[in-house]
């Protein structure tokens, strides 16, 4: 498939935003259950949710560039019963709204105590709003992944690993960002986020590699024989119905040379996993904010390459009809 930059930015930006929110909320949960010191600086959550919002909205804006008719985008909420794309279109703003509400609760300080669990753990409004946002956040990962995983013709995508990878890569990117953010805010959660970031990044490395191995061994169901219905081992296309390009030659082919295609795979494998892990561990032990931020930025560039490769690797059966001009 042809990788569209609008979609690459959409999925990587909201992934980072979702991951950052999950990190902040996990921190809050741990403090509510008295496993971590409470973050009393009001700025911490407010600033954190602002960064999440900026990432989500940037992603949303970039997605509009994918549409031929962006002015009609509101219509895309219509078919949530059948279409994962439609579901994402609903869940993304809902999650954005929930994060905004969560940030607002922290900002205004209007955070009434709702109930206590076994007289020790106090559950306040922000925890409940955050829980709702967390649910939406995971559902958003599911929607994003399923948009690709549900198209069975694109065999490289049609696997649960697609959803798993979108989720883990988003969480990894968000937790690394949270580590840098916590260091900047001097919040004492640096090691907590950093530890999780390393764990999730290693997990994501395993699942992403699993999907690479799976896709390397894929057997495509369609062939020229089934495409035109003639049983013969030697079928060669002589004309595709137009001398220059068409939508079919632009939308479904990545257009990069085989060498660059392979190169980008290695670029993302290095930039998304080992390099950020290295920077993280050095940054954590040396308490160097700049290294932690660099880990996030370098991994983000790697994620752009990862997403490019994800699209480019998918081989659409229609390509069988467009082999030679």
């Amino acid at each position: 498939m042809h990788p569209a930059f609008s979609v690459i930015f959409l999925t990587t930006l909201i992934g980072a935003g979702q991951g950052l929110f999950l990190a902040l909320y996990t921190g809050q949960l741990y403090s509510a259950f008295k496993l971590l010191p409470v973050q009393d600086s009001a700025n911490y959550y407010v600033l954190g949710s602002l960064i999440v919002l900026v990432l989500l909205i940037a992603g949303l804006v970039s997605s509009f560039f994918h549409l031929g008719r962006p002015e009609r985008a509101w219509r895309a909420a219509a078919r949530w019963q059948t279409s994962w794309l439609s579901r994402e279109v609903i869940v993304l703003p809902a999650f954005t709204g929930a994060v905004a509400a969560w940030g607002l609760v922290h900002y205004t300080g209007w955070n009434p105590l709702l109930f206590t669990i076994s007289d020790t753990y106090e559950i306040d409004l922000s925890l409940v709003v955050g829980a709702a946002a967390t649910l939406l956040c995971f559902f958003l990962f599911l929607c994003t992944g399923m948009i690709y995983a549900c198209i069975k013709m694109l065999q490289e995508w049609a696997t649960p690993l697609t959803v798993v990878n979108y989720t883990l890569l988003g969480i990894s990117s968000g937790f690394i960002l949270a580590t840098g953010f916590a260091a900047w805010q001097d919040s004492g959660l640096v090691d907590f986020f950093g530890g999780w970031a390393i764990f999730v990044t290693i997990l994501a490395f395993m699942t992403r590699t699993a999907s690479l191995i799976r896709n390397a061994r894929i057997r495509h169901k369609s062939s020229l024989e089934t495409a035109i219905g003639i049983r013969h081992r030697h079928i060669e296309q002589k004309a595709q119905g137009s001398m220059a390009g068409s939508f079919n030659t632009r939308e479904y082919f990545h257009g990069a040379s085989q060498r660059n295609f392979k190169y980008i795979k290695w670029v993302f494998l290095v930039l998304v996993f080992p390099l950020p892990l290295m920077l993280l561990s050095i940054g954590l032990s040396a308490q160097a904010i700049s290294l932690l931020i660099a880990a996030f930025l370098i991994q983000y560039v790697g994620l752009l390459a990862e997403r490019w490769f994800f699209f480019a690797q998918a081989n659409h059966p229609q390509n069988l009809y467009y082999q030679t001009v």
Binding site: R75, A76, S83, M153, K221, G229, A244, Q318
Partner: protein
């Protein structure tokens, strides 16, 4: 339930592109707007077509056969392109099974085109909406046209009658009979899309002749053993006697 469809006879198609041009001509004047033609006289001309004729060579030289292969939306009975559409712009009509795109609702997200394994959908570069074969829905019910012209433009244009049009769910229709009698098949059955359009295969007429059909096996003299069996290239009894 009616399911209108095309049946395309690959045995007859000569690859003349008459269906392509008549399709473009009819549909570019449709109510949904013109079909784009970008750089028609420039270096990289490109444009929207609902129907394309491709050419394949089957076999290796010298035993090759050229197959001209017209390709358009197959109006699948289980169209994967419809449920994925987030706006409901893509839909399949209950009454005749035609799969259509509502150009007023489509947001041009391309998602449906990813779900179609046949590459039958093309985004119009000018109108920025998804387009595809409509089976000339604005023609086949038009009562101002003479009855024999109420068919898709491509069917009317085909000089070799390679394109048949009708209801594939009606067992007595011309298309159903052709599918049954002439081995009609569907493209890429592996995706479970159940295309309504069918293709009729290339067919060669073979006749098998056995040796004893070339030799007079019923030579009466031989049977009675009065004379030896004549050599195979000797004139036969019929040739030597005049009855």
């Amino acid at each position: 339930m009616t399911q209108l469809a095309l049946v395309i006879d690959l045995n007859v198609c000569v690859g003349c592109h008459a269906c392509v041009t008549s399709c473009k001509e009819w549909n570019t004047s449709g109510t949904a707007g013109a079909l784009a033609d970008m750089n028609p006289f420039g270096k990289d001309p490109t444009g929207t077509f609902f129907n394309r004729v491709q050419t394949f060579e089957v076999g290796s030289y010298p035993n090759t056969e050229t197959v001209h292969f017209p390709k358009s939306c197959l109006h699948c009975e289980d169209p994967p392109c419809v449920p994925v559409c987030p706006t409901g712009a893509s839909y399949k009509r209950e009454e005749d099974g035609i799969v259509l795109v509502d150009s007023e609702k489509c947001i041009g997200c391309n998602y449906c085109s990813w779900a179609c394994p046949y590459g039958a959908r093309e985004l119009d570069e000018e109108r920025k909406v998804m387009t595809k074969c409509t089976l000339c829905v604005d023609r086949i019910y038009d009562e101002s046209l003479p009855e024999n012209e109420r068919k898709p433009a491509c069917v009317n244009a085909c000089p070799t009658n390679a394109r048949l049009f009708g209801d594939v769910n009606d067992p007595d229709s011309e298309v159903s009979q052709a599918i049954r009698d002439q081995g009609g098949y569907q493209l890429m059955p592996e995706w479970g899309t159940h295309p309504a359009n069918h293709y009729l295969p290339r067919r060669r007429t073979h006749i098998t002749i056995h040796d004893d059909e070339l030799v007079r096996a019923d030579n009466p003299l031989n049977k009675e053993r009065q004379l030896p069996m004549p050599d195979a290239d000797d004139p036969t009894l019929d040739e030597t006697t005049s009855w």
